[in-house]
């Protein structure tokens, strides 16, 4: 199956061995989209590498910027003003909403519900991307969160728009729950399909919604708070079933929590500087740093090594998409061809994030 296939979200190849329609063996192949982003970024300065992080997981460019910025700040010991931290949290949670919407929408695409759910997801995504455009000037490749703060202050109309959007999105999540969660065909296709036991998920270092859907309460926002996440009140929802349906329900629950964080952040957004002074040719002291954040798809990490020059000596990225795929074979064995597509969709990967 693949690399050119409508359900691989890019160019992913699965070598399937079938017995009739039942999957006997599965071998994932990737690398078709390799662009050498890590090496390219090592040739650039720390600031020049920010746009490359946009291109890792193009759906969640904001959280990619965020993780990279945190890594650089730890490396060079840069202070971030509180307003910038709040803006980062707002952007990060909006990105999570976008990602989970699309994840659910495309899952239904793969289930064969034509384009209807995904079109509705896209409609809501547009509203959030309008906000991104207001703040950063770009809708997808935002390049907004920079080491030291954010690229520009929020425009005046941003907050009123966001305040209006939060209840709207709450309604949207409730709408998805109402229309899709109880759908009998959806349940028949997803309950008990692609079961990932909790111990196997941890053994494969799977993170994010896929792990929490298997019943393990682990979220970097709580386990190792970065930025100002320890100041917010939110729960970490989990499911126990560990199947496709649990992953879908998990994403819905997380959207609710994101909206909670968003409304708290909007309330408390302080005035002040939006960035601290960072030289454009930043020369961090010799050393190394690792930063990880809870990206929508899982734990996103950046590992940077500096040798004191303006270019990073090593620029390494831990993509959640790639590592979450590691249990794909075990999840698919014994299921039908149609299930492979759905299980793959329920892990919610971006190929650009896998191949880098």
């Amino acid at each position: 199956m693949g690399p050119q296939h409508p359900s691989t979200h890019g160019v992913f190849r699965m070598i399937l061995t079938l017995d009739g329609e039942t999957v006997v063996d599965l071998k994932p192949m990737f690398g078709y989209l390799h662009r050498g982003l890590e090496k390219t970024s090592e040739e650039r300065t720390y600031l020049q590498a920010v746009p490359f992080t946009d291109r890792l997981d193009y759906i969640c460019s904001m959280t990619n910027n965020f993780a990279y910025a945190v890594a650089v700040e730890r490396l060079a010991d840069i202070e971030v003003p509180p307003r910038a931290e709040y803006i980062r949290v707002i952007m990060g949670e909006l990105t999570r909403l976008i990602n989970h919407m699309l994840g659910i929408g495309f899952l239904f695409n793969e289930l064969g519900a034509w384009y209807t759910p995904v079109v509705y997801a896209f409609r809501e995504r547009e509203r959030i991307m309008d906000l991104f455009e207001m703040a950063s000037g770009s809708r997808m490749m935002c390049n907004y969160i920079r080491p030291g703060g954010v690229a520009a202050d929020l425009p005046e109309e941003f907050l009123p728009h966001l305040k209006k959007l939060i209840p709207h999105l709450k309604r949207f999540v409730a709408e998805i729950r109402f229309y899709l969660s109880e759908n009998e065909i959806f349940r028949a296709r997803s309950v008990g399909v692609g079961f990932l036991p909790a111990d196997m998920a941890v053994a494969n270092s799977i993170t994010g919604p896929v792990l929490r859907a298997s019943g393990v309460t682990y979220d970097v926002r709580r386990a190792e708070p970065y930025s100002i996440y320890d100041e917010f009140e939110f729960d970490i929802p989990t499911q126990v079933e560990g199947d496709v349906y649990a992953r879908y329900a998990q994403r819905l629950d997380e959207m609710d929590e994101s909206l909670k964080i968003l409304s708290q952040a909007v309330e408390r957004l302080p005035d002040g500087e939006y960035t601290s002074k960072v030289p454009s040719r930043l020369r961090p002291p010799k050393g190394e740093s690792y930063a990880r954040i809870e990206a929508p798809k899982g734990e996103l990490g950046f590992y940077l090594v500096s040798d004191g020059s303006p270019n990073p000596y090593r620029w390494r990225n831990r993509p959640p998409s790639l590592i979450n795929l590691s249990a794909l074979r075990e999840m698919c064995l014994g299921h039908k061809v149609a299930d492979v597509v759905v299980i793959y969709g329920s892990i919610d990967v971006t190929l650009a994030d896998i191949d880098r």
């Binding site: 409508p6 064969g112 909790a198 126990v240 149609a338």
Partner: protein, 396 residues
């Protein structure tokens, strides 16, 4: 009103008179037959053009979009633009294809589709041929496309096409059975196998109100025969890309497309004829009523397509054999008993309707229980795994 009612028949008789004036009787009859066949084919193609446009508009509106709006006012020439595009496309034959089978499949699929129109009553006195075994004719011809789909899938020499062809055989053959049983129920009530006779038998009350279970079974089996969602496993965009016709391009692809939509119209027409009282309803002319009812059925099918996910091959088969066939059989027995015991009339209708509702209720109850049990099993497996994980984490 009378003029409108008999519009098409009058036109036909006028043409007939025209030919009668200078041709011998048999030649005039021959010309009329050929004209009738041409007319049915043209209706088929025009219907396809209209329905592709309608389908795209309906999908768009359901998805909160606008849909085609570039070609002509409101995009009404979109279908024609598509047709021209199809005609000008390169005709590709895969290197390893079985050439003759590959060529024959699109032709073979369109013939039975068009043939079916012969027995469809479009209005009062408007039917190609009124054969007394029309229902058998429909079932028999409905099975032929399976062969050409299998040919297409096999000849394409493509893994997706082959998978699609296997699914075709499994699906279409299994759904023929509940469909035929549902048809039998209608035949039992109407006492005739002619489509004209069946419409006539519904003059007081349409069969959907007499035996809704048969209607449901026929409708669901019809969706499967048309390979529409939730039974569109044969083409399954997201799984096997396009199924059996993946390797076809240009006009050959258009043939499959045409056959699919001709069948679509035919199936909606059959549902109208068998269960919705055909062309009968007051005030408007009969052929208009037939069109309205058929288009309403088509709209419902499109609506289902846009909103419901697809089921899996094993679920599709078990649904056919474990749900539809038993319901159809039980319904056949029920209706046979009631038809034997009670004289035709209100009492019989109410008894049949009531027993059908009870039957549907029992079937839904059983299906719901199976679904809940599945959910519980999944939950138990998950809980066990979580417990296992935390136990091992503590011992470490």
């Amino acid at each position: 009103m009378q003029i409108l009612e008999n519009l098409w028949i009058d036109i036909a008789q006028w043409i007939r008179g025209l030919f009668d004036s200078f041709l011998p009787q048999w030649a005039a009859q021959l010309v009329m037959d050929v004209l009738g066949i041409l007319l049915l084919i043209v209706i088929g193609i025009v219907a396809v053009l209209a329905f592709t446009y309608m389908e795209r508009k309906v999908i768009a509106r359901v998805g909160d979009r606008i849909g085609p709006n570039r070609a002509g006012p409101l995009g009404i020439f979109q279908a024609i633009a598509d047709a021209i595009k199809m005609l000008t496309k390169e005709d590709v034959t895969p290197t390893n294809a079985d050439r003759w089978m590959f060529l024959a499949a699109p032709i073979l699929i369109i013939i039975p589709a068009v043939l079916l129109y012969a027995v469809l009553p479009f209005g009062r006195g408007m039917v190609g041929v009124d054969v007394n075994i029309a229902v058998v004719f429909v079932v028999a011809l409905g099975a032929i496309p399976i062969l050409s789909m299998l040919m297409a899938g096999w000849a394409s020499d493509n893994k997706y096409a082959l998978l699609g062809a296997f699914r075709t055989v499994a699906q279409l053959l299994s759904y023929e059975i509940p469909m035929a049983i549902a048809l039998l129920t209608v035949v039992l009530l109407a006492g005739t196998m002619s489509t004209v006779g069946i419409v006539g038998a519904q003059s007081s009350i349409p069969f959907i109100l007499v035996t809704p279970a048969a209607f449901l079974v026929y409708f669901l089996a019809g969706l499967a025969e048309l390979n529409r969602t939730p039974f569109d496993l044969l083409e399954a965009d997201s799984e096997i890309v396009a199924g059996y016709f993946i390797e076809y391009s240009g006009m050959k692809f258009a043939m499959f497309f045409l056959a699919e939509f001709i069948n679509f119209f035919m199936m909606a027409g059959m549902i109208t004829t068998l269960f919705l009282g055909g062309w009968q309803w007051p005030i408007l002319p009969s052929w208009l009523w037939f069109l309205i009812k058929t288009i309403a059925v088509i709209f419902v099918i499109m609506w289902i397509r846009d909103t419901v996910p697809r089921i899996r091959i094993d679920q599709m088969l078990s649904f056919a054999w474990k749900a539809l066939v038993p319901v159809a059989l039980a319904n056949l027995f029920l209706v046979a008993f009631i038809a034997k015991l009670l004289e035709p009339g209100w009492l019989r209708t109410v008894a049949a309707f009531g027993s059908n509702i009870v039957l549907i209720g029992i079937a839904l109850l059983l299906l719901g229980r199976a679904s809940r049990r599945r959910k519980e099993r999944a939950r138990e497996a998950g809980e066990a795994a979580v417990k296992r994980y935390y136990a091992s984490a503590e011992s470490d």
